[in-house]
Symmetry: C2
Subunit: 247 residues, 2 copies
């Protein structure tokens, strides 16, 4: 069940069999299936427990009064949402699905036991949260400083590398179940401009994007072109050499 999370955590440290088993058990207690483009948690809700994405894509987002929407983060398989948020009074943003999602709800108490009894695992979960924060910081840089071309390219690099870290890429290809409208709300551009910019990325031969399938033809070149430095993902060995079909 928790295979993606485990795979991700092992970029940080190898876990014992016991660690992995405990995590796996925790993720089996209660699972939920949510359909595509539906809300998981709403701004204002009292947060409870921890959600682990087992399958599918979700996103954090925030809506302004006049309807403008910003996607704040993507939650991919293996991502934990909101360790500890129950400390905050209420959610200050919403979480919604992009595709259909399978979720494990891990009760706070289970979480507490997990971290209490497993020092290494506890550290790994802390690492997970720190990386999530680092990603959020990088998004600030991305939206604040980069051109449309760089922003979009950077987003694609990040999603590709994160998916690769959990084994969800096939060679240079991965799923990208986002509409251009969603991409627009992610990088602070209009849909029209996202479309223009995608054309540009395609026309210089860096990517292909058809249906819901993204191929990055020359990852190194794309990284250079958009100043993507994977350090902030803290995957070790630059996160570069772990293709899902190599191992």
């Amino acid at each position: 069940m928790a295979e993606f999370l485990i795979r991700k955590l092992e970029h940080f440290a190898s876990l014992s069999f016991d660690d992995k088993h405990a995590l796996d058990q925790a993720s089996r207690q209660r699972t939920r299936r949510i359909r595509s483009r539906d809300d998981i948690v709403h701004e204002g809700d009292l947060p409870q427990g921890v959600n682990l994405i087992l399958d599918g894509w979700a996103c954090r987002y925030k809506t302004l009064e006049d309807g403008r929407r910003q996607i704040i983060a993507y939650l991919l398989p293996g991502d934990l949402c909101d360790q500890n948020v129950s400390i905050l009074g209420e959610m200050d943003h919403s979480i919604g699905t992009v595709t259909a999602v399978t979720l494990a709800e891990i009760p706070t108490e289970t979480m507490r036991q997990l971290t209490a009894g497993h020092a290494r695992l506890s550290q790994a979960l802390c690492w997970e949260a720190l990386v999530a924060a680092a990603i959020q910081r990088e998004w600030t840089v991305n939206i604040g400083q980069r051109t449309a071309f760089e922003r979009l390219g950077h987003l694609l690099c990040e999603l590709y590398v994160r998916l690769r870290a959990v084994g969800l890429t096939q060679g240079t290809t991965c799923e990208l179940p986002l509409t251009q409208a969603e991409i627009a709300d992610t990088i602070g551009l209009s849909v029209v401009h996202v479309n223009r910019t995608l054309q540009e990325l395609r026309s210089v031969g860096l990517i292909s994007l058809r249906g819901r399938e993204l191929t990055i033809h020359r990852l190194e070149a794309l990284q250079r072109a958009v100043q993507f430095n994977p350090n902030y993902l803290h995957l070790g060995r630059e996160g570069r050499h772990l293709d899902s079909n190599e191992a």
Copy 2:
């Protein structure tokens, strides 16, 4: 020493005398004075312990290869930097001062003892970290969705409210030791446009900004004009009613 931090944490929960004493002691162990516009921590450094801003302003920032710079966060008196970052291999961004800064360096071990022996305090520190993450998310929204006018106004609201939460405002006035160039690097605009936008905020009578002193003439009106909703700061009671010269 830790008065600002304590003041901030008490928005979350009242601390016992013992909690406060322990925190205060921890903040006295080792302090450092860093002069204006100097680096505290550099990207690539191995992070150690936890820094507490005792006095002055600092910022997190990230620089792109071609010199573009994004300020990612402001660290105000009472702010803790990098609880737990020592888990990450190396810093993925730098921290520099805006003004001269007095810093308390709290060793990891002291931190561990603090949280181990003081459940309430430990929770409060967790809350601090969650709020920092919430601020980072809000910045994504700010830069991604808002107009220049809204972005700038939103930033000013946030800084004012955060300063007020630690008692560093006088009525409708607070310090704002930022140059327009720094503001520009914060909200992803050019210096010229920041200047234009500041003029606009002044000309509609919402703010005054002379020297390094900001006055927000009509906070409610400014909040409405720029869609600033202080919820994300999780200060309780909307964080609105704690003027430093009322109490």
